[in-house]
Amino acid sequence: MGKVMLEVKDLKTKYITRFKEDVYAVDGVTLQIEEGKSLGIAGESGCGKSTLALSLMGYYFAPLHYTSGDIIIDGRNVSTLDTDEVRREVLGKEIAYIPQAAMNALNPTQKIIRFIEDVIKVHKPEMTKPEVYEMAKERFHILGLPEKVLDQYAVELSGGMKQRTVIAISTILSPKVLIADEPSSALDVTSQKMVIKMLRDLMEKGYIKSMIFITHELPLLYNVTDDIMVMYAGQIVERGSAKDMVFDPIHPYSKGLMGSIIVPETGTREHELIAIPGTPPNLKKPPAGCRFAARCKYATPECKIYNMEMKEFGEGRSQRCRFSVEHLREVYANG
């Protein structure tokens, strides 16, 4: 077992709306990633996965607020640090973020190199501008990005190039954890491939020590990450290796989610496309029992009463449904 890079214990965060209502977007998430490993987080839109990405950084601004829980990066508990320390010492350096909408992630009226200088100035104030330029040039070269991008404005770059530039900037200080929030969802297929390849390269060359990859496209996860977690209504409902999760989902939500996509692998292609009817619950007032019960076709009335914790079963796997794994497998087998 490798060194644990990121450990999150029972993290809870909430949004406070302008009508002063609380929305419990991340409700008790626990996870850990070892050095050299990557974790995929999947779920429908609105299930809280993007909020989880933001919450993992240990830095919160309105309307998102921290409630409780610990975030430990390489043995250091960042949730006890104050905001300034987090920004100076953690963000961009220990943990880095690739936003969902990289199209607009770069300041349109600033040259890329000026932005990189601003990033470095916070974390390594001792570096001079020529040093920063050399460093950026080298990193861009390794990642296969043209050097002239440094002297361009974001508006002059194509979509794919912008996304790759964002990845290069996010990882320029070789962070221990990289959080990529749907980094390829808005791109064309070629650019998607390049982005994925780039992330793999970064992992292999050790520029990032671990990665969390968030997406709603499951086939992507199967190819990119070691493990997969499925998230529903602010909670983790199932966790396992990528292969297990795709071919043997246990929780009915995972099952539905896997069913609603087509995995390009022999043997799975003939699975029919099942979309899960309904939408995730309103997290202002989360349901009392199982949060998926209202949409679950296997649910019994009891499901709406009993709230279950994650239960381990088998090698590194756990899930939240109150039914036994055997029962569920049997139900699935009988259609």
Partner: protein, 335 residues
């Protein structure tokens, strides 16, 4: 570099077309009047002229200028040529002064008054708007309604209120004119002092009126920018708030420059009417005398000059803006 040239060329072409259309409208609108325009205008203009020879001369001059017997197109060419030469004929009301002389006396007063006032108003407004957006809370709550009220106050209303308060109640500024009524323009110290004291009230009434509108525009622009993706991304890279605020205000301020160009016409219109309240010896007062004295050549030339001023300023703003905002560069130059 050819990109710049193309952009510049395009703008020049555009400017020329607009100018021709403006002259055309100036030419054609009075000719759309029902009835015989020459008879109507000359009859109106000759009212109150005692000298028979003057009336006759005006009549002949007018008939010649309108060239009623020529085809419309030829009439326009003559008009256009004369306009380019700055030849607008003789004034009816201040016969036999040349219209171009009257206007060249007035135009510098207007430029010296309005240009600095609009620039100062723009700067103050943008600063206040940016602060309101950034500080929010109390400051915003105070600045917003005040700015909204100030921008709702018609410019002539602002002028009247300032005049009554400072020139009449407090008696610390003169009520009207561009300099003491008993003076002859020269470069003596007393004259300059008089000009400066007469300058204050018209200047500030235009400044205040320009400030309100700009502050509101800048505030929403800044709020929009503060919510932009690049702000979030920069924060997650640990960049200092001060640096980020710098990005935001630069980006919010740049479109405000175009905003200024777009609202210039309305602003100058308001400012001209404010001039009238103070009987300031600028184009506003010239316009008013053109209208009240039915001095058609004077009116027509004044409106043309005002249009020309607005056109030139808009053109200049466009050119400057193209150089400083890379967003425009990317959108326009690479077409």
């Amino acid at each position: 570099m050819s990109g710049y040239r193309k952009y510049f060329g395009k703008k020049i072409l555009w400017f020329t077309i607009t100018f021709v259309v403006a002259v055309l409208l100036n030419f054609i609108l009075p000719r759309l009047m029902p009835g015989d325009p020459v008879a109507v205008i000359t009859a109106k203009s000759a009212q109150g002229m005692s000298e028979a020879s003057a009336v006759k001369e005006v009549y002949e001059h007018y008939a010649e200028e309108f060239g009623v017997n020529d085809p419309m197109f030829k009439q326009f060419i003559t008009y256009f040529k004369n306009a380019l030469k700055g030849d607008f004929g003789l004034s009816f009301s201040q016969y036999p002064r040349k219209v171009s002389d009257i206007i060249s006396d007035a135009i510098w007063w207007t430029i010296a008054l309005q240009l600095p006032a609009i620039i100062v108003g723009w700067l103050i407004g943008n600063t206040l708007g940016a602060l309101a957006a950034y500080i929010r809370k109390g400051f915003d709550k105070a600045v917003m309604p005040v700015a909204l009220f100030l921008s709702s106050l018609p410019p002539f209303g602002m002028a009247v209120l300032l005049l009554v308060l400072f020139a009449i109640k407090l008696d610390i500024a003169p009520t009207s004119g561009g300099y003491g009524y008993d003076m002859i323009p020269n470069f003596s110290w007393t004259f300059i002092k008089s000009v400066i004291s007469h300058y204050q009230l018209p200047f500030w009434s235009i400044v205040i009126f320009a400030t309100g509108g700009q502050a509101i525009g800048m505030r929403s622009m800044s709020i929009y920018e503060l919510n932009a993706d690049y702000v979030k991304y920069s924060r997650f890279l640990g960049i200092k708030d001060r640096t980020i605020v710098g990005y935001v205000f630069r980006n919010a301020m740049l479109p405000q420059i175009t905003g200024l160009a777009l609202s210039l016409g309305t602003m100058i219109g308001g400012a001209l009417v404010a001039e009238i309240i103070f009987s300031y010896p600028g184009l506003g007062t010239t316009l008013l005398s053109g209208i009240t004295m039915s001095d058609y050549p004077l009116l027509s030339a004044t409106t043309l000059i005002i249009t020309f001023m607005v056109l030139i300023t808009t053109f200049a703003i466009d050119i400057i803006y193209g150089f400083i905002d890379p967003r425009v560069k990317a959108a326009q130059f690479d077409e």
